[in-house]
Symmetry: D2
Subunit: 343 residues, 4 copies
């Protein structure tokens, strides 16, 4: 849909536009209104370049796109029947709960083993544990390859599938070699397309899901869904979308909670949604309400930070992690909320 | 600076806090006011973990950090005397202008050669040319390794140093092998710390500058400066900070122009600032004003998209690129603005 | 708390600051840290002017305020024991539901009478009906004084207390004369302090509550609470705080839902919170989830747009209003959510 | 332009839509594309209600408006030839500079008389002086009617036209009686339509301009222009649009500078633009660059806070006001920037 600056295009302008869209096998259909004309683009309206070229024309004010720019993630695609399964839990069948430490402390592995046990007992379906961490400054602790062994050991002890974040190909290969069940892509790498492609490729055909956090800005959600398209196009349809708050924060919250984006995602894509309330609000006392709100909005699950003894944690854990008692209560509440939402 | 939830900490709470900060070799200094007390942290107040642990305490409402979390980028660091030089132009000595195509079209190299010539004649100091491109969807053109040869050929023809964006280690190695003069890190990878470390390491000791775009959200600028710290800590002090607009956009602008952040950067860091008006506004007609505004705000230069024939461009060029006539006039205006600003 | 630009203030600077704060009966307490000093302000730290003057000093980088700028709204004030009662329902005792039309259509009063009946039967506690409307353009329907008679008639028919928005003193006087039970101040007038003062004054001592919508931007919540302080200071403590989404919107939502602000309000003020999901999301299909999320976050109630036949409504009703069936189900769900939240 | 949820409307749906728009004397023109149809609305596409009703239909996903919702402010209106003149200065002919105190101190009138003289000597065209002030808390100084006498006296002494903000009808009447040359509507009242109507009505036919600040959020600029339409429709075409920064602030700036909105305003409306850099950045040291940037972006002038002795000011003056030396230099720079911009 083309809106011109003047009420009507001149004949020369119209011919130029027609020639341009013809290169993309589209045609123009002018509609003459009372005060102005608009110009519909007929055809496969998905070429970014066509849009960019049209918007570059001096006499064009705005060009609107009607069709979706992703194919595989679209709710109308063949993949809409695909179900993501993590450790036996099919996403969409009851609230999926992943819980665990933001950061594994390689010097004190026993905390993580205790956390794993507590998380399991509280009723969670997956164990979260950060091996490597994106830190604002290079002078902070960046994680440690040895933590991967701790993660694997914890999995074998508690029997839950594990989730960990990777930030580059080297980490990705280590995680894939360790058969990590859910690879997490963090918000800072949410649009790191090179990494997303690699993830799709290296996990293709494996029993491995990918949890993609939303980039922490208020861009259109099509961009979020399109980022996941990179992973699926790379070969792995087991993607999970994860809202985690947008910047700037809402007053003292670390971010502006955005679990409310869930119904919009659900209208456009078949991919399950698992929200992250811990980073949305950034402080343990506010996490449970945010988690339950996500389920009310239709999320398929939540991923929360939890630690057997939060004050002994490293990274964000002292600030954000739930203790086992709070986690257990949250999981019970989640079950009841699910019933109300899905009855 | 610790603010408690209650007007005053209890003795037990105070002792717990004192023990905690003692682990980081800090002490607590309580200040008793009329209605409440506050608690200053004395010592090297730069441990993220200490802050996270303090914020995790039930009875603590807020913890403020006074000291900067970066060391090398700080305006008070030894590096403050360092000057970044690109192709003979010392940043800070007259307006630095980088111009060229968003995207090199590998099927039509002659456009880029013409652009290079036009950019040179217009008076620019560096030639921009995108070899690889981050695209919202995997189904769009992603760039082409062959374009690197075109970039190198253009450099030898026009004699200008060249700027190109890399998104992963493989591209980085190709760019370094080709002795690209300025490596650009785009906004989507602005917080891709793995890549920033690699960039610092692989360009260390080389005559190579790194242009770091600001992440497109409204996070604190300390995060922006800290990201550059990764590059400098990796071994290359030739960093250039590049505001490029924040999301969400200002009405129909692609982004909300943020060249106004320049004076804030200049107060905190010695690193030069080169603004990107093309992505800030996203449409050629609005670019020159935005470019000049950046210089008024104290930027050391600008990087603008320019194409010998914008309508024949690919990627964002049809929409954003200046034609050679507009570029030439912009460069002249930039010189006059510089005189007013720096007299 | 004063942060200077240089690591330490000079003696002259310190003396100047001491003299300045002394005018407000405050003193300065310097704290000498490892690399820099900070300067605590001791005394009644609530004068805006003192803060502004301190921030105006050349050598001062930042001044932080510790104490709250409102007195009556503060959770520690005497008023914390006050309860707001609307039509027999004490806020805080079970979910309060106000529902009804965005706009009363003066040409078709029967719709409003039907809506009133439907709202009552669905189980709501108050009837919302817009008599006057703030419209983006002067050429749109602005409401009609005759609608006040319709509102009053509907009240006597259904027996529910009524809520209506006023935008100026003339409308306020008409509403007070009609003994409207809840005066609503809309988001565009949320910081119209002249009106807030008048509202406090003219409803003082009356059985009239005031529902104050949050200004639709991401300002600090202290500003929101302080705006309510105008009403309470004017003489009416029956204020209700109403989050209604912030701008810019979240993708296609009219606003960015902000019911998540509720726990932050609850920590600072005793005033009840009633959220407006209709304006947060702006489209009927998304309203129920947003309404329930507000209750999960601890809101005392919700105000939703509802119409006996949405398609026949005017103003925002065709787009936003719930039909009676959906409203009834929402109210039932609200009761169950309340039980989970408050058990 | 109607986008349906399904690729195509059913016949029944289409007939319903046709009937609906027929009520507004519009017709529907379907356009059948490769994968989906879109539906153009032909006629006078300006009824808000028609749009709201269309958006309320279950099967409609989105409705786009092509025509402008304002008539008088439109750059294509008859009024486009109207020129706003303030105290002999025609807006658009050289940079218009209004300067003066945020707040007049009624206890110390001599400061304002000195400021008036300094502002005049520095070369400004109008004198700003706040008589009444919107304050975040009711416990702060709210202004004083006596300051109006000081403002009038200052005008007669220095000979410059005066600008002052009004927040309600009572203040407006006092200002009109005093023949204030420019009535300012502040950002908190920018969408207080009752006040805007009154302003238009009470200043109609008078030699009085109205400076309308932009609401401090990132709403569409059509809303800003439409607010001014209330004033013009009320009877006074002498409106001036004033960008003043949006919330949330850019790092430590009070707001996010938005002078860059000027070119967008200039494309849509004939009304002159006078930017307010003082509130955009909120601290004197950053004001001059922001002021000059506004002129670069095409603003017709600036309104800056200035005080003969900033530290002695009240309200925001200690923080934001320029001293006379800085103001003089800014006005000189403004003249040079104007020449570059308008050559």
């Amino acid at each position: 849909m083309i809106i011109s600056k003047e009420p009507h295009l001149t004949d020369t302008q119209l011919r130029e536009i027609e020639a341009l869209v013809a290169e993309y096998r589209c045609t123009i259909h002018p509609i003459h209104g009372a005060h102005r004309s608009i110009y519909a683009i007929i055809g496969d309206e998905t070429s970014e370049l066509m849009f960019n070229r049209l918007e570059g024309l001096d006499y064009v004010d705005k060009v609107d796109r009607v069709e979706s720019i992703y194919k595989l993630m679209d709710i109308r695609s063949e993949l809409a029947r695909h179900r993501v399964v993590i450790g036996g839990h099919t996403l969409g069948h009851g609230p999926f709960i992943a819980a665990g430490q933001c950061t594994i402390d390689p010097k004190n592995p026993h905390y993580f083993y205790e956390t794993a046990q507590a998380v399991k007992e509280a009723g969670a379906h997956a164990l979260r544990g950060g091996v490597w961490k994106p830190r604002t400054t290079p002078h902070s602790f960046q994680g440690d390859n040895r933590s991967m062994d701790i993660l694997v050991e914890a999995r074998s002890r508690c029997g839950l599938p594990v989730v960990t974040e990777v930030m580059d190909e080297e980490q990705l290969r280590i995680a894939v070699d360790a058969a990590v069940d859910v690879i997490q892509i963090g918000t800072r790498n949410a649009l790191n397309y090179s990494l997303l492609k690699q993830v799709g490729k290296l996990t293709a055909g494996k029993k491995c899901a990918v949890l993609l956090k939303r980039a922490r800005n208020m861009g259109p959600i099509d961009e979020f869904i399109s980022a996941a398209e990179y992973i699926v196009a790379g070969g792995n349809p087991n993607v999970v979308l994860c809202p985690r708050g947008t910047m700037p924060g809402l007053d003292i919250y670390r971010n502006h909670p955005d679990e409310s984006v869930t119904p919009l995602l659900k209208k456009k894509t078949w991919a399950p949604v698992v929200a992250d309330p811990s980073h949305s609000v950034g402080k343990a006392e506010f996490v449970p309400a945010c988690a339950l709100a996500a389920l009310i909005y239709g999320a398929d699950g939540i991923i929360v930070e939890s630690h057997c003894e939060p004050a002994k944690g490293i990274g964000d854990d002292p600030k954000q992690a739930l203790n086992p008692v709070t986690l257990r209560r949250l999981i019970q509440d989640a079950g009841e909320i699910w019933k109300i939402r899905h009855r």
